[in-house]
Every structure is written in structure tokens, then in C-alpha cells.
């Protein structure tokens, strides 16, 4: 791109913020009360990972695989792509993430998740925040409640909850499961930053701190 230094972040924003929030509203309206089921499933796997880590797989992998495919199809392809052509190129990554999570669910020792392991507590807190606090952001952002973003329905909390659970995970597949949710947090964080929305900072902080926490967790001996 020529004269790239003359471009600002806002120059890449193709749509007005109100159009984006109305997309989320439309998604919520079309899917309610599926939110109860998706948050319920999310809480169930957090509980499993915390209390019975030996049974955490395959359920964690399967639930996450299902929501990544569902959000990729129902939100990214069916709604978001209409106002942002870049999403057409990004949506396949959601399906890839879903496939990888499904593989992790069934592959023995591909991934183990333990809330009691190093980094596990922090991970579970991140996941719980994604499940319960993220939908409450309208309280600070001033957006209507009807545009609350919920795990399994909207992509941002889905990525945050996934990264939280992955913080509690170990195994050879971890390295391939992290990049897509991290990339999404960065992409969506920058988009929301261009829109001047507070949510941007949560996503960018997640994209910045999760890799650091993963690296720190690796150094510590596993208990």
C-alpha cells in the first residue's frame, strides 16, 4: 500500500458503530433464549475444569468446537460479512478453530485441562469474566442491553472464554489452539478501537496478556 503512513486506524473502518451494534442486537433477537444454553454450557465446563479436570475432556473441546463453528456461521458469515468484506477471509479461521478443538477433544493426550494447574486459576477467572461480566459491559459502555455480547452468540466473549480455558490447558495441541482466538482479539480489539469503544481495551489486553501468561505458566513446574 502506498503512503501507508498517511492512513489512520479509522481509515480501515468500513461501517458506522451504530450499524455494528445493531448487528449484535439483531443476532441477540434472532437467537434468544439460546444465550441461556450457551452460557450454561460455558459455566458447566468451567465447573468441570475446576472440580473434575479428569473429565474436562472431551466436553470442553466439544462445547468450544460447537460454539466456534456456530458463531462463525451465524454471526460472521450471516451478518458481519455483509458490512465488512474482510470477514469473508476471516470466517474460515473460525471453522478451522472449531475443527482443531474437535480434534483436541478426541485425541488422547492432545490437550489436558486442569483448573488446579499453574495458570489454571487465572484462566478460569478469565473464562468466568468472559461468561458473566462481558455481557454486563453495556453498564459501562452505555449501549442498550439488547446489544449485550454473550459467549456462544457473539465472537468477542467466545474468544475470551476460549483463551481463559486454554490458559488452564497443557499438551502438544495448545500451540495450534491459541493463535486464532488471539488473532480475533487483536482484530476485533483494533476494530472497536477505531470505533472508539471501551470493549477494545479488554480485547487488546487479552491479546497482550494471554501469551505472556502462557509463557510464564510453562516455566513453572507443573504440580
Amino acid at each position: 500500500m502506498s503512503e501507508w503512513w498517511s492512513y489512520r486506524l479509522e481509515d480501515f473502518l468500513l461501517f458506522a458503530p451504530r450499524v455494528y451494534w445493531r448487528l449484535i442486537e439483531a443476532q441477540n433477537a434472532a437467537l434468544w433464549p439460546l444465550h441461556v444454553a450457551s452460557v450454561g454450557a460455558g459455566l458447566a465446563i468451567v465447573l468441570l475444569v475446576a472440580r473434575r479436570p479428569q473429565n474436562a475432556m472431551p466436553w470442553t473441546g466439544l462445547v468450544l468446537a460447537a460454539v466456534w463453528a456456530f458463531v462463525g456461521w451465524s454471526f460472521l458469515l450471516n451478518r458481519y460479512a455483509a458490512i465488512n468484506w474482510a470477514i469473508l477471509y476471516i470466517a474460515p479461521a473460525f471453522f478451522l478453530q472449531s475443527a482443531l478443538l474437535a480434534i483436541a477433544a478426541v485425541l488422547p493426550r492432545g490437550l489436558t485441562i486442569d483448573g488446579r494447574a499453574a495458570g489454571g486459576r487465572t484462566g478460569l477467572l478469565v473464562a468466568l469474566a468472559g461468561l458473566l461480566l462481558y455481557p454486563c459491559l453495556p453498564l459501562v459502555s452505555g449501549h442498550p442491553w439488547t446489544s449485550a455480547e454473550v459467549f456462544g452468540i457473539a465472537p468477542d466473549p467466545t474468544a475470551i472464554v476460549t483463551l481463559g480455558l486454554l490458559l488452564a490447558a497443557r499438551g502438544p495441541l495448545l500451540a495450534v489452539l491459541l493463535p486464532i482466538p488471539l488473532f480475533w482479539c487483536l482484530f476485533s480489539g483494533l476494530t472497536l478501537l477505531a470505533m472508539d469503544e471501551v470493549e477494545a481495551w479488554l480485547l487488546l489486553a487479552t491479546a497482550a496478556f494471554v501469551p505472556i501468561l502462557v509463557l510464564v505458566g510453562r516455566r513453572r513446574p507443573q504440580t
Partner: protein
């Protein structure tokens, strides 16, 4: 057939609101300022309608209806040129749906762009754009942001020679690559050039606007309000008393009158989501325009705020 105001209003679903439309608009419909396209002699109302961001509303029915109402008010006020691009998300489709609802106003001047780095994709993209607009052919096609400009200009000139396109143009914005633009304007028989010009972005006055006039190239002005930054900044500031001397009743009108006061400018294409704003914008092309000294006064005043 020239589409009537009543038909437009009904088609936009405004129904009884028709009675509330100001009489000023009716006056506009009869006498918007027009400028001549040098390469053909065709006259063109001097305020058009942009679609970047404002018309990218996807499948949202309420926002689509809002866009249709903006288009209805635009045509009813005598506007003709609508500008879009395959880069603008769903904007082309939203324009297309609006045109369909309005019964395809014959006064439409359809201006779109080709925007792809692959030379061979140009023709396919143009055909896709045409389908989205739902028009038989485009009046004007422009190479967007000079991307792959040599190959796309070849395609566009070939379409024009074959009678499938009326005008060929090229665009840039925010002052980017003006040197290359100047070269292209000198070396190719362009009908239109599109660039950014307003009271605070005045660089085109140096070379590009005089060159356009000299070579008989029509000029479309984009980002008249710096994508709303200018109108937002001025919002709340009192309009100077002397604005009334040229009939400007708002900052938007004053800015557009400044732009149109340059004799090389053919059309300014502000974008908006609001019916009152589109009316105000088209109205800026009515009444008096500032002379050179008044234009300088406008630029100095706005620049100082």
C-alpha cells in the same frame, strides 16, 4: 420519464409525511446549480451523494429504509450523481435496493469504481457491481485510489469505446499521490477525476484544479466535510453573520459553497444518513456562490476555528 417528487416520497414509504416536505425543496427540484461535464457538454447538478460508511448498513431493514429515504430526498431535490465502490461493503447493494424501491429514477447518474489489484478481475468486478446496483450500465466508472490504474484504465476506455460506459475517471483522497494523479491527468483522456478538496484541504488549488480546467476534466470532490470531522468540529460554533450574504444557513452549506465556488469543480459528493442533511447539502448548490475573496474569508475563518 422524470421521476416525480410524489412518487419518490411514496416509494420511500414516507406516505403522509409528503405534505410536510418543505416548499424550499420543491424550489430546489426545479433549479439546482448545474455544472458542465467538459468532455460531453452534459449538465450535472453540482451536489451529488456519497455512500462510504453511511450506506454500508448490510441487511438491516430499518437502516436500508433510511438510506432509501435519503436517496428519495436527494432525487426529489434535483440531485443526480450517486458515488459508490466495491470497497464500501454493502453500500452498492443498498443503493441498488433503494433504486428499485424508488422505481429506478431516470435522472440517476451512476458513478462507481473498480477496485482490485488483479488486472484480469476488473471486468468481473464491474459486472458484479452493475448487478448490485441493478442498472443497465454505469454512467461513470473510476479507478479507485489509483489501484492497478494502467490496466483498469485500459479496461474502462475499451468499455467506453464499445458504448458500454459513458465516462472514465480516476480517484484519490486526502491528498494522496497527487504527483502520480497529475501525470495520469496529463497523459490520458480522462473525463473525470475525483479528489479531496474543502476549506482546510486546499492543495488541489495549486496544480490539480487548474490542470483539470485546462485539460477539460470534470472534478468530483470527495470528503467535503472530512468524513464529518469538519462539521462536528464546527457544530456549536456560531455561523458568521456574513454567511447570510451568500445565503448559507449552516456550516455544511458554507463549506459546500466554498467548494463549488472553484470554477474547476463539477460536483461535490457529501455522504449522509439523514434526510434533512441531504436536503441541506443539495440546497447549498442553490442561490449565490462566494466570489474569490469571500471564499478566502470562509477558508480563513474555518481554518482558525
Amino acid at each position: 420519464m422524470i421521476i416525480t417528487r410524489r412518487r419518490l416520497v411514496e416509494a420511500a414509504g414516507l406516505g403522509a409525511a409528503a405534505a410536510l416536505l418543505p416548499t424550499r425543496m420543491r424550489a430546489q427540484a426545479t433549479a439546482p446549480l448545474t455544472r458542465v461535464i467538459p468532455s460531453s457538454g452534459e449538465r450535472m447538478p453540482a451536489v451529488g451523494l456519497g455512500t462510504w460508511i453511511t450506506f454500508n448498513v448490510g441487511e438491516d431493514p430499518a437502516l436500508q429504509a433510511e438510506c432509501t429515504q435519503v436517496m428519495a430526498a436527494f432525487f426529489a431535490a434535483g440531485g443526480r450523481m450517486i458515488d459508490s465502490s466495491p470497497m464500501y461493503g454493502s453500500s452498492q447493494a443498498v443503493v441498488g435496493r433503494g433504486l428499485e424501491r424508488l422505481g429506478h429514477p431516470e435522472t440517476l447518474f451512476a458513478a462507481d469504481k473498480v477496485w482490485t489489484s488483479a488486472p484480469a478481475n476488473g471486468a468481473v468486478q464491474i459486472e458484479q457491481s452493475r448487478r448490485l446496483w441493478g442498472v443497465k450500465s454505469f454512467d461513470l466508472l473510476q479507478v479507485h485510489n489509483l489501484l492497478t490504474w494502467e490496466a483498469h484504465l485500459d479496461t474502462l476506455f475499451a468499455m467506453k469505446a464499445a458504448g458500454r460506459l459513458r465516462y472514465v475517471g480516476i480517484t484519490t483522497s486526502e491528498g494522496r499521490r497527487h504527483d502520480l494523479l497529475e501525470q495520469i491527468m496529463r497523459g490520458h483522456p480522462l473525463d473525470f477525476v475525483q479528489l479531496t478538496y474543502n476549506p482546510v484541504d486546499r492543495e488541489p488549488e495549486q496544480r490539480l484544479l487548474p490542470l483539470a480546467a485546462e485539460r477539460g476534466i470534470a472534478v468530483i470532490v470527495n470528503r467535503p466535510f472530512r468524513q464529518g470531522e469538519l462539521t462536528e468540529r464546527l457544530d456549536g460554533e456560531p455561523l458568521p453573520g456574513w454567511a447570510g450574504e451568500i445565503g448559507a444557513t449552516s456550516w455544511a452549506e458554507l463549506i459546500l459553497k466554498f467548494i463549488l465556488s472553484h470554477p474547476a469543480v463539477t460536483v461535490a459528493i457529501p455522504a449522509t444518513t439523514r434526510v434533512d442533511h441531504v436536503r441541506e447539502n443539495v440546497a447549498a448548490a442553490g442561490g449565490d456562490l462566494p466570489d474569490r475573496s469571500m471564499a478566502e474569508r470562509i477558508a480563513a475563518h474555518i481554518g482558525a476555528l
